[in-house]
């Protein structure tokens, strides 16, 4: 067994033990509620939230695939850096509101929020389904990241991946969100080591970054492609900007990001973390520059798998034990987001499909059990996609997933600010965005060949939609998601007054402004004791549409002395 493999196996084994032990970490009285299993008790402080969010956002696939892009195209592959910078100021405004409203009402998923805000089961279900559809291929991508490492270590394709995933699936089943939260600390330590290793190795190369960039520049000048280079060619700029913006919007809407967010203790924890997380983007930035370093040392991808560029670079340039640590960083970096994603998808299913349509009065224990089983199913689904179908299929699905999840923006993100939209207008907008997005993706051909101009495949070849489809004489392209989202918004805005004018009934908003600013300690924010009790607050059935829900003034009940109990019916 090579040194790399030994180091990898040791780290991986330690992580697996930690994952199982996490169930005992801050052990609650009962882990059999969705708040405990799926949100780690909603009580993570500054540090754990930081590790959890960074583990969630900076995935193994990013660490593997993005440097590969830079290796192939140069500047155009650098878009994740602006994307992961602009996303945090955007999140700063919206996330705190999302946290508050979810804590006041006990929501676990964005779809529950939408259902309550717009009074529409249909829209809630649509958001849940789109979330699940977008998350599944994302899990498969994490496997692709791990696969690249295994390939460099010379392991076969099938069983090592399956084994790693079985371990992951079991400890997620057992520990819920506590598992990835604890493991993400190891992941961040390993990533930090990998970044330091890159910096040290580059510092030891003669000429350092200067030489590396010069060689990369010469290399891009030689290739017949016109879209590569050290800076952006004119025609790539629009796609670069829209891709960064679109990815930032999508990141907020992905259910797994929101799961990580809801696990934090209070609003300030969240906001403090958002101030620090941009710095984490620097680690990604440094790893992206490995793409150039790989050009310098003439790394060739192993076995025709382009994603192996980064692991192979570590393999050739770092000492064996250090390369082993870098491999472990990618391997563990795949486990954390995959676990959180499967938990998020499972919660969506349980709260927004199972409890809404199948068993409305499911107990907390039953909910947790359903979520656990679904998280297993989702993971093995992703594994099957990868093993039975092929890698390219998973990548294409993920591309579609990004465009799909963006269509929930008016309901989820704008919904945090206004209930002005009519529920059917939201549905129409979502539908229009989806149809247009899929059609545009279908239109994009896959280009390849030496000069990157030959059509390899007719359809679903990427997310950069060439503007010459509109008859413009230009090589510029635009990110499909942004166009689809714009159409979605237009339809929603235009249809709302029309539907109101036609007298189509509005949904009933079950939230109010104070819910969006409530913080830890506010009487309306449910205390953990109550959440752990798990049983729903008894709901008074309104006698008519106009009867206010909840206990009334003048009719004192036993719960009146406890303000948190008085609050809200469980939705």
């Amino acid at each position: 067994m090579s040194t790399q493999l030994t180091v990898f196996v040791v780290v991986f084994g330690a992580v697996a033990v930690m994952g199982f032990a996490a169930a005992r970490w801050r052990r609650p009285d009962s882990i059999h509620t969705l708040e405990e299993w799926g949100l780690g008790g909603r009580a993570f402080g500054n540090w754990v939230t930081f590790f959890l969010l960074s583990g969630d956002v900076y995935t193994a696939y990013t660490f593997v695939a993005v440097p590969t892009l830079v290796y192939g195209m140069g500047a155009a592959g650098f878009f994740p850096v602006p994307f992961l910078v602009i996303v945090y100021p955007m999140l700063f405004v919206v996330l705190a509101r999302f946290w508050s409203v979810c804590h006041v009402h006990g929501f676990v998923t964005p779809a529950e929020f939408v259902r309550a805000r717009f009074g529409s089961r249909g829209i809630g279900t649509a958001v849940a389904l789109l979330g699940i559809v977008a998350t599944m291929p994302y899990i498969a991508l994490q496997l692709i990241g791990m696969e690249a490492v295994f390939e460099v270590m010379g392991l076969p394709k099938g069983w090592p991946l399956t084994l790693a995933f079985v371990v992951l699936a079991l400890y997620t089943f057992n520990s819920g969100l506590r598992g990835p939260a604890l493991v993400s600390i190891v992941k961040d330590a390993l990533i930090l080591w990998a970044v330091l290793a890159v910096l040290m190795i580059v510092a030891m190369t003669p000429g350092q970054w200067d030489t590396i960039f010069r060689i990369a520049e010469n290399r891009y000048a030689i290739t017949p492609r016109t879209d590569d280079g050290l800076v952006l060619p004119v025609q790539s700029q629009l796609n670069y900007v829209t891709l960064a913006l679109g990815s930032a919007v999508a990141l907020f809407l992905y259910p797994h990001t929101l799961t990580g967010v809801l696990a934090s203790r209070n609003r300030s924890t969240l906001r403090r973390n958002l101030a620090v997380l941009p710095i984490y983007t620097l680690t990604l930035g440094v790893l992206m520059l490995v793409g150039f370093a790989a050009l310098y040392s003439g790394v060739q991808p192993v076995g025709g798998n382009a994603n192996t560029v980064v692991p192979q670079w570590f393999n050739e340039n770092a000492p064996a034990w250090s390369a082993g640590l870098a491999f472990a960083a990618i391997g563990v970096g795949a486990m954390v987001p995959a676990a959180i994603m499967s938990i998020a998808a499972a919660n969506l299913f349980t709260r927004d499909i199972y409890r809404v349509y199948l068993r409305p009065y499911a107990s907390a224990r039953e909910e947790t059990y359903v979520s656990k089983s679904v998280s297993l199913t989702v993971k093995f689904g992703a594994l099957l996609i990868l093993l039975l179908l092929n890698t390219q299929f998973a990548i294409d699905l993920q591309l579609i997933g990004g465009v799909v999840i963006m269509q929930t923006l008016p309901a989820v993100a704008l919904g945090l600010y206004t209930n002005w939209f009519h529920r059917w207008a939201l549905g129409l907008g979502m539908g229009a965005g989806l149809v247009l997005g899929l059609f545009m993706l279908w239109q994009v051909p896959k280009l390849g060949g030496a000069d990157g101009r030959q059509v390899v495949r007719e359809h679903f070849g990427g997310s950069a939609w060439p503007l010459d489809n509109l008859g413009f004489d230009t090589q510029a392209a635009i990110y499909v998601g942004i166009v689809a989202l714009a159409v979605n918004l237009l339809v929603a805005v235009a249809a709302t007054p029309v539907l109101r004018g036609l007298g189509v009934a509005d949904g009933r908003d079950l939230t109010r402004e104070h819910d969006y600013v409530a913080d830890e300690g506010d009487p309306t924010v449910r205390r953990m004791t109550e959440i752990i009790d798990g049983e729903p607050v008894p709901e008074e059935k309104p006698t008519s549409f106009f009867t206010p829900v909840g206990p009334r003034r003048g009719t004192p009940s036993a719960q009146d002395d406890d303000p948190s109990r008085r609050a809200y019916p469980r939705l």
Partner: protein
């Protein structure tokens, strides 16, 4: 706005609107309980339920119940800087000046990370300070609703 139809229930023959600002206190009736008038509880039916017959009423209501956006702050506009700058390739799409041999394109965009971090930390400080100062008024508004 529309206040007709089911939105404004009519009580006991007389066209008395049960929703409205009455004697300085906001009250609301229900269709089922007839003339029974309740003080507003925390869950409020929105949209076509007749609470906001006119824009002016809505404003009064907001003032009375502290319903406007409570986390509003002008400092939030500052966050636009780290959002807009990285989306303008005109600024950074060049090779010179280089830093440690790294083209401007790369180190400038990495530098935006520090900018974003700094701006967010600054805004967070300002907003929490403002919230602490204005906390009293928010609390009173909250009490009136709850």
């Amino acid at each position: 706005m529309r206040a007709e139809g089911s939105a404004a229930p009519v009580v006991g023959g007389a066209a008395a609107r049960v929703s409205g600002l009455r004697g300085g206190e906001w009250v609301r009736g229900t269709a089922a309980t007839g003339a029974r008038v309740l003080p507003v509880e925390r869950t409020i039916a929105r949209h076509r339920s007749g609470e906001w017959p006119t824009v002016r009423d809505r404003r009064e209501r907001r003032a009375a119940f502290g319903e406007g956006r409570q986390d509003k702050s002008r400092w939030h506009w500052l966050l636009l800087v780290p959002i807009v700058l990285p989306l303008m390739p005109v600024i950074y799409n060049r090779v010179d000046p280089t830093l440690l041999g790294m083209p401007f394109f790369y180190w400038c965009q990495l530098g935006f990370a520090f900018l974003a971090s700094g701006v967010i930390a600054f805004v967070h400080k300002k907003v929490t300070a403002a919230r602490k100062q204005g906390g009293k008024t928010v609390a009173t508004a909250g009490e009136r609703v709850g």
